[in-house]
Structure formats: structure tokens, C-alpha cells
């Protein structure tokens, strides 16, 4: 399964996004942000790559910004 990581400005933004995505029925996991990506915030959200459009759509609908989306491995 291909997975993606989404990074955020702070943990507050990460956990806000996590809640919005959970309420939208999308499965995510909060994980340690890989050091290669960014040190902005130590926690990122991991999700199924197939859900990428649904994830970005749900966040956009709620006006939640994110920093970037990367391949997990």
C-alpha cells in the first residue's frame, strides 16, 4: 500500500486536521515527522495515497492549511 505523509505548521494544526479527517471518515495516523522532511512540527499525519484527493479536499473545505505532502517511504 502506498502511503503519504502530510506535514503541518504546528501540532495544533496537525491535531485539528486529524479531527476534521476523522469526522470526514478518512483514516489517518499521527506519526513522528521523518527528519528528512521538516522540523516545523514533530508530528505528521500518514494516510493511504489513494485518499490524497479526499484528504486535501476535506481540509480545504475546512480552511485548514498544511505544509506539504510527501511519499512515506
Amino acid at each position: 500500500m502506498n502511503e503519504k505523509i502530510m506535514t503541518f505548521e504546528s501540532v495544533h494544526h496537525t491535531l485539528k486536521a486529524e479531527k476534521v479527517l476523522r469526522l470526514a471518515g478518512l483514516k489517518t495516523a499521527a506519526i513522528n515527522t521523518p527528519r528528512r522532511l521538516s522540523s516545523d512540527c514533530g508530528i505528521s499525519l500518514k494516510f493511504d495515497a489513494a485518499d490524497e484527493n479526499a484528504v486535501t479536499g476535506a481540509l480545504a473545505a475546512d480552511g485548514i492549511g498544511f505544509k506539504g505532502i510527501y511519499d512515506y517511504k
Partner: protein, 380 residues
């Protein structure tokens, strides 16, 4: 057994859910919230976020990240006042403010700010929106108004004040210590810029909880800087909210309790809680008519108000009344100036003070009747 009528100082008892949430958090999730990526830290972070979400909803704030947590309303008021004012600025406030507003503003005065204190009506103990707006000058940088008096329970017309200030472009800071959780406070719709609240009064949370709502357009200079768990490679404070104004390990266990308190309001119904408190207040006010020499201050009969009543029994020192209520009847009230010398000057009860009864959701009509009977004996 005691009868607790000091809910304006802090609500007691708390809902059982508040108390059990404190234990549950400490036993299962008390890692440092959001600082580390492990499951306990994330779980603690979620509790903090859920509390921020619930507090924002209670205030009518659209975005939970516009709410920062503080230890209490006083800290929130200081963050707002010190974060906004600069030498040369003018501030408008009211004569009903608590020292949590009065003292930071007197400090601002010594720092080169000018202060206008708009008097409230001595009879209603509320301010008129028109009087506040008339005091605004081109130099006015802030208007600070208490939503309701901690002494008399009188409610100020903050929506009208906010509306009038919108055209003038002057931000409004509301001290909602007495009202957050008790009265609807639609900050986004009303266009209120800054709201300081406490968690341990009408929100049914533990002490050490509170916060400040900062509207998206406002940029306050941080009073406290430090670790946020974000931008760790940078040694300067992040610009974005809530990190800009919220540094250091937060009171996450307190947030767990506050979240339970806010859910208690949701489950019980804010209107139902308000209705019960109103019933107790009306019953008490009616009963006071039968107490000799009772002098009651504050809103006229029938006016919208909080469940806080200030009174004196003419000829008896307020501290003696409070002591006798405690010693002889187990009734706990607060006598004196209630950290609000300006308000007592407005009422004409400075420096003697008054006795304050403040009723809560867990009080009963029978307790109110006992208090009236006790006052009748004390006054006879």
C-alpha cells in the same frame, strides 16, 4: 454540610465528570501534549485540542486555533493588554472592572498610556454603549469592558459596543470571567476582537484553566516566549497562532477537566443551567424583601443578570454578616471589595464593601430559603 454560595469566585462542586476526567487523564494520558510523536503524547495533544475546540464553540469562535490557553482570565487579560498597548495609546474602560483589568490598565498608564474610565449607572451598575462610544478618540487603541460585573451580576451591552466600535476600527477586549459558559457569547458574529475567559467558574473546569480568544485580524506581542513543539530549529517565537502566544508545557490535565465541564454544559443544556440559576436568584431577591435593613445593589427587578447578588444589612459590617453566616449557618459567601474597588466606588459601597451571594447550578431552592431565613435572624 455547608451551603456554598461563592460560585462567582469559583464554581463548587464540579460535575463528577470533571473530577473523574482529571484522574483518568493523569492515569492514562499524562504525557507532554504534542511535544513528542509517541502515542501518549499524541493522545494528550488530542485532549488539549478537543478542549480548545469545545472552548472555541462555547465562545462562538470559528477557529479553535484562535484560542490560547492560560492559567486564568487574569493572565489572558494581561496578555491582551500588555500585548497591544504602547506608550501614547488611549484606552477606554468602565467603572465596573475587576482588578484583573484595572491593575494592568493602571500599569499601562504608568507606561505612557491615557485611560478613560466610563462610569456605570450607580443604580443599574451597567454601562451604556453610547457612553463608551462617546469616550473613544482617534488615539484610542483599545476598549476593555467586563461582560458582567463580578460584584452585582449586571450585564454590559457588549454586542452594541462591538457594533459601534466596528466603524471606528477600535478593538474590543471583553472580560468574560463571569459569563463564559453561562451566557451565549457569539464572538465571531458580534465582531469582538479579544475575549478573556476562565475555565473554573461557569465552564465547570478546574482552577488553572482559562484562555484568550484572539480574532484573526489581531496581532498581539507575546508576553511569554519559549518552547512550542513547532519550528524547533528556530530560536525566535513562531508568528502563527496559537504558538505565538502559547509557550511551555500547558495545563493539559486541567484541559481534560475543562473539556468534561464543557461537555457537561452541552449535555445538561446551557439554557437549563441558566434557568435554574435565575430561579434561585429571583427567589433570593424576593426573599430579601422580608429582611430588615437589607440594601440590595445592582440590576433592577426583571433585568437580565447573572446569579450574583450584592447586599448589605444597614448597620452591620459586611464581614460580620459573612462570618455569622459561616459560623452559625454554614453558609459560605464573600464579603468585602471582591477585587473590584472601582465597582464598589460605583455602587457607593467603598471602602466598606458588601456581602456577595453567588448561586450555582448545584444549589437548591431550599438552600436559598435557608439563607434568607439566616439573614432575617442576623438582621433582627
Amino acid at each position: 454540610m455547608v451551603t456554598y454560595f461563592d460560585n462567582a469566585a469559583t464554581s463548587f462542586p464540579k460535575p463528577p465528570a470533571t473530577v473523574s476526567a482529571l484522574c483518568a487523564f493523569q492515569e492514562t494520558a499524562a504525557a507532554n501534549p504534542g511535544r513528542s510523536g509517541h502515542r501518549m503524547s499524541v493522545a494528550a495533544g488530542r485532549v488539549l485540542y478537543d478542549c480548545r475546540d469545545a472552548a472555541a464553540a462555547a465562545l462562538g469562535a470559528g477557529n479553535p486555533l484562535d484560542v490560547i490557553f492560560t492559567l486564568n482570565a487574569t493572565m489572558a487579560l494581561n496578555i491582551a493588554i500588555a500585548g497591544l498597548l504602547e506608550p501614547g495609546d488611549h484606552v477606554v474602560t468602565t467603572s465596573m472592572e475587576h482588578n484583573s483589568v484595572a491593575r494592568p490598565l493602571r500599569w499601562a498608564e504608568t507606561n505612557g498610556c491615557a485611560l478613560t474610565i466610563v462610569p456605570a449607572s450607580p443604580s443599574t451598575t451597567a454601562v451604556r454603549a453610547a457612553d463608551i462610544l462617546a469616550a473613544v478618540t482617534p488615539a484610542t487603541k483599545l476598549v476593555a469592558v467586563t461582560h458582567a460585573s463580578n460584584v452585582t451580576g449586571a450585564i454590559n451591552p457588549i454586542a452594541d459596543i462591538a457594533e459601534g466600535l466596528r466603524d471606528k476600527g477600535v478593538p474590543l477586549l471583553v472580560d468574560a470571567a463571569q459569563t463564559a459558559g453561562a451566557l451565549p457569547l457569539d464572538v465571531a458574529a458580534a465582531g469582538i476582537d479579544l475575549v478573556a475567559f476562565t475555565g473554573h467558574k461557569s465552564m465547570f473546569g478546574p482552577m488553572g484553566t482559562g484562555g484568550l480568544y484572539v480574532s484573526p485580524g489581531m496581532k498581539l506581542n507575546p508576553m511569554i516566549r519559549g518552547g512550542t513543539g513547532s519550528r524547533s530549529e528556530e530560536d525566535t517565537q513562531p508568528e502563527f497562532m496559537p504558538d505565538r502566544l502559547e509557550s511551555g508545557t500547558p495545563n493539559a490535565i486541567g484541559a481534560a477537566g475543562l473539556l468534561a465541564g464543557l461537555r457537561f454544559i452541552e449535555e445538561t443544556g446551557r439554557e437549563r443551567i441558566a434557568g435554574h440559576k435565575r430561579m434561585l436568584t429571583d427567589r433570593f431577591l424576593e426573599g430579601l424583601a422580608s429582611v430588615n435593613r437589607a440594601e440590595v445593589y445592582g440590576p433592577p427587578e426583571g433585568a437580565e443578570r447573572l446569579s450574583t447578588v450584592a447586599l448589605n444589612i444597614r448597620g452591620i459590617d459586611c464581614s460580620e454578616v459573612a462570618q455569622r453566616l459561616d459560623d452559625d449557618y454554614g453558609i459560605l459567601v464573600r464579603a468585602g471589595l471582591h477585587c473590584a474597588p472601582w465597582a464598589h466606588q460605583t455602587l457607593g459601597t467603598y471602602p466598606g464593601g458588601a456581602v456577595r451571594f453567588s448561586f450555582g447550578y448545584f444549589n437548591s431552592a431550599g438552600e436559598v430559603d435557608s439563607a434568607v431565613a439566616a439573614l432575617r435572624e442576623i438582621a433582627s
